[in-house]
Assembly symmetry: C2
DNA sequence: ATTCTTGTTCCGAAATTCGGAATTGCATTC
DNA sequence: GAATGCAATTCCGAATTTCGGAACAAGAAT
């Protein structure tokens, strides 16, 4: 049994595994990655690398760069993502609000959204480009750790919450807890304080604070969050930050409600 | 020869073909598409659909929705795109400018960019959500038809231009021309008038106008465009539109140059 | 003209996928 | 609580595909 070829846990890369490896490489060096590069970087025979690349191209996931000597991402890929996320209108709507905050506080701010039982980043803005690497639109926020996720989940009905807690909850740092009881107590704390925190639970040195964005009908589907180095976020000016988030959050709620109404009208 | 199994023109879907079909379906109904749906919509045996879906999940391109009964797009996909496009800062920078135009004119506006010899949409905003379907970030604009592409290509050196013209140029409508000579004359016209047009060359009833965005150092890497129904765009108010685009384009040029400088500084 | 590098085609051996049939799991109904 | 219906999943032999070494073209550099 120990010599079984099919690993019991099934961590096999699957049929698309190597295609994805190549694709990720292409994404890392768009428009500048040549066949030889792929071959040597992934230790694949030239022939195999060639076949994989051509396969990606035929599938529309990659395409040959203009010179012909290199590859970059195909537009079918781009279209796929943009078709789903469709947070464009949300971005244009909330952009100015976010910008206002980051200008006064100089920290990364983002708006998350409840989408299909998960919390995902909808819009993200930062004063420093380098920070944006982590918080990018479409990224999922873990319910048991992220401030923005707690801020939303604290105001969902029991069914939604139970479903979210039934998912595997990741442990990322020594400060991460993933037992349901703890999460529930954390959410209770959010309801009492009116804001959520994430203190080194995702990255040792980073903290985040988030407030729920309560729509006019009382629903909470979004959260507004600010993140940065732990000691710079969780200091004596914390109350001020929360105030700022709440003020902007209220404005956002109105804008979002209006936006949704307009969108609905246009979709008939 | 006619009965040859390997088609000479090689329009085969490739090994990833069916995976992509499924993935596109998932993207169309994110979080709500069940195995049975895929099976019946693509006329695949349940077994096959199942295997394809699981393959996508294992590759990180799709994932099971929280309920477990449905699928949506995986975040590896999202991350791939956002890692490359990286037009986020560009979007936040140009967003307000674009919004200003669409508010006064009520037409779809977008910024395109020269990227690796191709013209791609960087930022796009529209008063009506439905229009956005076509002009989406990442989409490539054909050099021989799109106004935004002509506006940029008219100011490139001969090598870049030659390379672009060496690519296969698509014919999409009866108004599309794809011979190099015609394109060159069109570019000459752009240089004389200062703006580019696309009159039903991409979609019969649609027109677009575009102006180059000239950076402080004289380079043209971007174009600002407005698109809409032909008779609404190409009417007697055309000069005013061009003026508006030029004004905003000048403001954008400054913003872009500054943005690039800041980004460069942060990247050291 | 020649050499080197890079991309492409061929083809037999090996491993994979293919999809029908049977099975499990879950919710709804009687 | 048993029974029913539906959707998802596992099994498995047949068939198709991929795999990658070796030979082959196509430029670029010397």
């Amino acid at each position: 049994m120990t010599t079984d070829t099919t690993t019991t846990d099934d961590a096999s890369p699957g049929p698309l595994g190597r295609y994805m490896d190549v694709l990720e490489l292409v994404a890392a060096f768009p428009g500048a990655l040549t066949l030889g590069d792929v071959s040597s970087m992934l230790a694949l025979p030239k022939t195999t690398a060639h076949r994989l690349l051509k396969g990606l191209v035929k599938a529309g996931l990659a395409r040959e760069a203009v010179g012909g000597r290199a590859y970059d991402l195909g537009e079918r890929l781009t279209r796929l993502v943009h078709a789903t996320v469709d947070d464009d209108w949300l971005a244009t709507l909330t952009g100015p609000h976010l910008r206002q905050i980051i200008e006064s506080w100089g920290e990364t701010c983002y708006l998350t959204r409840l989408a299909g039982g998960r919390i995902v980043v909808a819009v993200s803005q930062s004063p420093d480009v380098r920070w944006r690497g982590y918080v990018q639109p479409g990224i999922e926020m873990p319910v048991n750790a992220a401030a923005s996720a707690k801020a939303i989940m604290a105001y969902q009905d029991d069914a939604t919450l139970a479903q979210a807690l039934a998912q595997p909850l990741p442990i990322v740092t020594a400060n991460t807890r993933n037992d349901a009881a703890w999460v529930e107590s954390e959410l209770q704390a959010v309801r009492e304080r009116g804001y959520a925190t994430c203190i080194g639970e995702i990255d040792e040195g980073l903290a985040a604070i988030a407030v729920p964005v309560t729509l006019p009908d009382g629903m909470v589907l979004h959260a507004l969050a600010m993140t940065g180095p732990l000691q710079r976020i969780m200091n004596e000016r914390l109350p001020e930050r929360i105030d700022a988030l709440n003020t902007t959050g209220a404005a956002l709620a109105k804008a979002l409600a209006l936006g949704a109404k307009i969108r609905e009208r246009g979709a008939n």
